[in-house]
Each structure stands twice: as structure tokens, then as C-alpha cells.
């Protein structure tokens, strides 16, 4: 068996003078642009220092930290339970999966069990989160390509329905703060389940409509196919996770690999891309949403009755034994992990977040080099970043 291939060499950061095709002296100027932090296409306060040769990107440096509030230090100074609402603010589109990742890590650290009904509720919440995240991402992404308004409004119409469900169960649309170590905060009602079922059953129709609107669109095909190709080896070496990794053809979905929670009970497929370009990343998300609907239908059908909290779980003043644990889930953007070290006190000694969208930006430059500046916007859109999580 061959050893793993060396990662491709990094592009040189040295800016060379522009030469003409015969290799002569410089005939033009390179243009340095600071794109962001307040630019509509950077999805938040994110900056790219771009060097352009005409319209071609010859260098691109992401600049982070405009939204940095040292989330990890805050986590070290407050109790285990008090960090739960803070996790909502990481990836503020997907608070439910953030909650789950943190709860999973603390459960691993403290050795807590989760009742079966709570596991089903967690799966339902996580898959609803994935649906609304991918739907909105495609809306934003179409907006980045100039489809102003319509696709995003379609996406937000559906997202509101899901956020209404979140609000009715947790009291908040986005900052849900719903899960706890050892279960979930409160039970869902039969009416809520009926509403969720109605939404899930109707979602396939919306996906058909959304796909018909965009998937074969001539402009989208021209703008995305063959753009920002991410090779398989580089994707693995650069620790890319989530739909971006699977678009490059790597079969690695934590719901299948780790089988955390009760994901082993559901029958779903992991869609894989062949080219690893922007179009594959878009299409993977469409296909993943169809699998989400399948999981949701099965979960809503099979959900048992029972308690939603482990009666032995102690929320306030939780003091896990000294030790460490790393727990991870498949968040909509990739692998979200929490690494916790306990020294036996009420606060974690070390609280580390492994943010997927931050690490997925590692290879932004590699994907953009040689493309036009307008394509860099589309490529960034296909990475799916949320700055609350990137900068923490």
C-alpha cells in the first residue's frame, strides 16, 4: 500500500511582476484589493486580501478575527451549563447542532446516558437544522451569483417555517439553548410533532421547486462548473469536512462513521461528488436535504414516549472527574467538535471548539488561484461560512 500522498505544495506568496507571454519584462500592474470586512459577499465580517492580475486572482489571504471574542476563554471561566447558551452564538444558523455537539462532549466526559425519546428529538432538531441551513446557503449562494432576491426569499420562506417550530418548543428562533447534558430541556407535544410531520412531508415538493428553479439554470451552470476544484487528496490533508469534503468524493459522514446518538437506526445515503467543483458542492447539499427528509420522516414515525432527561443528570454544579474528552457531530457545515479537559471543578479547565467553517477556509486560496475575482466570491459562497464560528 502506498503511503498517503504528500499534500500538494503551497503556492508561493511572493508576488512576481507580471510578464508577457514571451517571458519579457513587466507590462502591467498587479492590483492589491482588501475585500471586506464589510463586503456583502463575505457573509459577515471576513476579509480577503486579494492580489489581482487584471481580473485573475494571483494571491489571496484570508484575514480573520473581526468577530473574535475569545469564546474559549469565556468557556473556561463559567460553569459547564452556562456555556450551553454561548454555543448558540458560534454558528448562529445552527444552534441546535452546536448544542448537541457540546452536550455530547460533556456526556462523554461525565458518563451520562440519554433517554431514547430525547435521542429522537435530537435527531429531529439536528435534521431540521440541516434542512434550513442548506436551504438558506443555496439562497445566499445564488445571491452571490447575482440572482438577487428571488431564490433567497424562497429559501427564507421555508426557513421561517422551521424557525417557527424551534420557537414553539424552545422559545427562541435562533438562539435555541434547547439541549442539556443527559437529554433535552423540555418535551415536545403531540401537536408539535404533527406540525413537524406536515412540514417534512411538504418539504420534498419545495425541494423539487427549488431544484427546478436553479439546478439547470444556464448562468449557474456557467458560473459553477469547473470552478474552484478541490482535489480529493488535498481535501483529506487539509481536514476539510462536511458537504465540501463529500463533494470531493470522500465518503466520510460522522453520522455513518461514529454513529453517534441513534443514527445507526436510520436508513440514509451519503451523496458523493465526482468533480469537487462548486457545482458539486451545491448539488451535494440538495441531495443531502432529500436524505434529511427521509431521516425526519422515519424519526417522526418511530419516536417513542418516555422521559426526555436522564434523572441522574445534574445540571447545576456539575463536576466531572478529572480527565478529558473529545466529542464531535456532523454539523451542517462539517465536523463540529468540543474538546474538554476537566480538573474536577465546576468549570472546564480547557474548553476548545473545533469549528468546521474556520478549518474549511484553509484551502480557500488554493481553490481561487487562477480564477477571476467574481469566481472567488462564488467559491467563498460554496464553502458555507458563518463568522460567529470562524472567529469565535
Amino acid at each position: 500500500m502506498n503511503p498517503v500522498a504528500e499534500p500538494p505544495r503551497r503556492p508561493s506568496y511572493e508576488i512576481r511582476p507580471k510578464t508577457d507571454e514571451a517571458g519579457g519584462e513587466s507590462i502591467g500592474e498587479l492590483l492589491e484589493i482588501s475585500m471586506g470586512p464589510h463586503h456583502p459577499s463575505t457573509h459577515g465580517v471576513f476579509r480577503m486580501d486579494v492580489v489581482l492580475d487584471g481580473e485573475k486572482v494571483v494571491k489571496l489571504k484570508p484575514v480573520f478575527g473581526y468577530l473574535h471574542r475569545n469564546h474559549e476563554k469565556i468557556g473556561e471561566n463559567i460553569s459547564y451549563l452556562a456555556s450551553m447558551p454561548y454555543t448558540d452564538r458560534l454558528d448562529y444558523f445552527c444552534s441546535m447542532t452546536n448544542n448537541w455537539a457540546y452536550a455530547l462532549s460533556v456526556e462523554k466526559l461525565a458518563g451520562l446516558a440519554v433517554p431514547e425519546r430525547a435521542e429522537y428529538i435530537r435527531v429531529i432538531m439536528a435534521e431540521l437544522t440541516r434542512l434550513q441551513n442548506h436551504t438558506c446557503l443555496i439562497g445566499f449562494f445564488a445571491q452571490d451569483m447575482g440572482a438577487l432576491g428571488t431564490p433567497m426569499m424562497y429559501a427564507f420562506r421555508e426557513r421561517e417555517k422551521i424557525l417557527d417550530l424551534f420557537e414553539s418548543v424552545s422559545g427562541a428562533r435562533m438562539m435555541c439553548n434547547y439541549m442539556r447534558f443527559g437529554g433535552v430541556r423540555c418535551d415536545v407535544t403531540a401537536e408539535w410533532l404533527a406540525q413537524a410531520k406536515q412540514l417534512t412531508d411538504g418539504y420534498g415538493k419545495f425541494l423539487d421547486e427549488f431544484e427546478a428553479l436553479l439546478a439547470q439554470n444556464e448562468i449557474i451552470l456557467a458560473r459553477t462548473q469547473g470552478i474552484g476544484v478541490l482535489p480529493r487528496e488535498l481535501a483529506i490533508s487539509a481536514a476539510i469536512t462536511g458537504p465540501m469534503l463529500r463533494a470531493s468524493g470522500v465518503d466520510y459522514d460522522l453520522r455513518k462513521v461514529d454513529k453517534y446518538g441513534i443514527y445507526s437506526r436510520f436508513d440514509f445515503k451519503v451523496p458523493l461528488g465526482a468533480q469537487g467543483d462548486v457545482y458539486d458542492r451545491y448539488m451535494i447539499r440538495v441531495l443531502e436535504m432529500r436524505e434529511c427528509v427521509k431521516i425526519l420522516q422515519a424519526a417522526l414515525r418511530d419516536i417513542p414516549s418516555g422521559p426526555v432527561m436522564d434523572p441522574k443528570a445534574k445540571l447545576r454544579g456539575l463536576r466531572p472527574k478529572a480527565g478529558e474528552a473529545y466529542g464531535r457531530v456532523e454539523a451542517p457545515k462539517g465536523e463540529l467538535g468540543f474538546y474538554l479537559i476537566s480538573d474536577g471543578s465546576t468549570n472546564p479547565y480547557r474548553y476548545r471548539v473545533r469549528p468546521p467553517s474556520f478549518i474549511n477556509l484553509t484551502i480557500l486560496e488554493d481553490m481561487c488561484l487562477g480564477h477571476r475575482i467574481a469566481d472567488a466570491v462564488v467559491i467563498l459562497g460554496s464553502v458555507d461560512i458563518v463568522l460567529g464560528e470562524v472567529d469565535r
Binding site: 503511503p3 499534500p7 474559549e72 462523554k108 466520510y252 466531572p320 474556520f358 484553509t362 484551502i363
Partner: protein, 211 residues
């Protein structure tokens, strides 16, 4: 998946003069980690990545940990003659564990779908910019995370292609995630390129105009 002891034995066979220690973990579900000395951590990581049984091609998480100086009190029972009678007396021995910084790597295999193996390296002390070894040449995914470790903990990871501050601004002093970091009072102060010019401009104003 091999146990940490098995991996340790194979590492010692493959890399000469390596010092590996399996650290205990009291958390029942957590993984025990491999502590490798700085001089051999790169060779050890390369072995873990390329070994056909492990093939840890995916470096998921890199985190820094700060361990300040710690006084460890151990109680020992000593026989002593007190007032002419031999008695057992408890004596408290205090030993100082010097502080260090730690970089922790969580390695998985995407090909064989196994893991994690937790790899740790420790610096000699807690100096600002204490040196350790970067593993970015082996796993590109460590690039931004190692920059973050450098930025927030001040571990200078030798061999990193582009080791700069990442979340804090250039010119920031100190390492905010260290346990002894104290936040300054004037948090909003940020050096600007105009500082020198402003200082020079002050000379042009006579003192009475200032008020």
C-alpha cells in the same frame, strides 16, 4: 484500532531514541493520549500518518493547553521520635511541577475510518514563544489551527510555513488564552500607523492652545 500501548511499542521500534509516554485519562469514555518528546514528534507523526495499519490521514483538531507551575502536596507517613516515644507522623511533602505548554492533536483516519489517536507535545517551559514542532508540513489542516495556538498560547511551532497572529491583530502583546493573562484596562486601544505622526503633531501646538 490498536491500543495506545501497542502504538507506543511500534513507535519505539520504528523511530530510534524516541520517548513516548501513554498518559492516563480518568474519564471513562475518553481516549488516552501519547506524549512524544519534541525532538521526535515530527518523525512520530509521520509514522502515524503513513503506517498502513493506522493511516491517520486526517488531523481533526489542534488545541493548545496551558499548565502553569503547580505545587503538588503529597502526604507520607514517617516514623519519628516524639517525646521519647516512636510515633507515626504524617508529613506533607511539597514538590513543584514546573509549568509547560502543550499542543494536542486529534488524529483520525478517513481511509480506514478509525481513530482518534491523541498526540501531545510539550514545551520545556512557559516562556513567551516557547518552541515546539509544527505538524503542518504533514497535515495541511493544522495550518490555521496551529496559527491559532501560536496566537493565543504563544507556542512557536517551528516549521510552520506562515506563523503569524490570526485572531488577534498584529502588534497585540501577550497570549490571551494563558491562565495568567490579565486583560488590559484600555481594551479599545489599538496602535495605528498614525501614532508617530500624531506625536509629532503635538509639538506644533503651543501649550495654551491645547486647553
Amino acid at each position: 484500532m490498536e491500543t495506545p500501548e501497542q502504538i507506543k511499542a511500534r513507535l519505539e521500534a520504528a523511530v530510534p531514541e524516541i520517548r513516548v509516554e501513554v498518559l492516563p485519562n480518568d474519564c471513562p469514555a475518553g481516549e488516552r493520549s501519547l506524549l512524544v518528546d519534541i525532538a521526535h514528534v515530527f518523525a512520530a507523526a509521520k509514522f502515524l500518518r503513513d503506517d498502513p495499519q493506522l493511516r491517520l490521514d486526517y488531523c481533526s483538531n489542534v488545541s493548545g493547553v496551558d499548565w502553569p507551575d503547580l505545587e503538588i502536596a503529597t502526604k507520607t507517613k514517617v516514623k519519628k521520635v516524639v517525646d521519647g516515644v516512636e510515633k507515626e507522623v504524617e508529613e506533607v511533602m511539597k514538590t513543584l511541577r514546573p509549568g509547560f505548554l502543550e499542543a494536542v492533536y486529534h488524529l483520525y483516519s478517513m481511509e480506514l475510518k478509525q481513530g482518534p489517536v491523541v498526540l501531545r507535545q510539550r514545551t520545556a517551559n512557559r516562556d513567551p514563544e516557547a518552541p515546539a514542532v509544527s505538524l503542518t508540513p504533514l497535515w495541511r489542516g493544522a495550518e490555521l489551527q496551529e496559527r491559532e495556538v501560536y496566537d493565543l498560547y504563544g507556542i512557536r511551532l517551528e516549521g510552520h510555513p506562515d506563523l503569524r497572529r490570526i485572531l488577534m491583530w498584529d502588534g497585540f502583546k501577550g497570549f490571551p488564552m494563558r491562565k495568567d493573562y490579565v486583560a488590559p484596562d484600555d481594551f479599545e486601544y489599538e496602535p495605528t500607523p498614525h501614532d508617530e505622526v500624531l506625536e509629532l503633531a503635538k509639538k506644533h501646538y503651543p501649550p495654551e492652545v491645547k486647553a
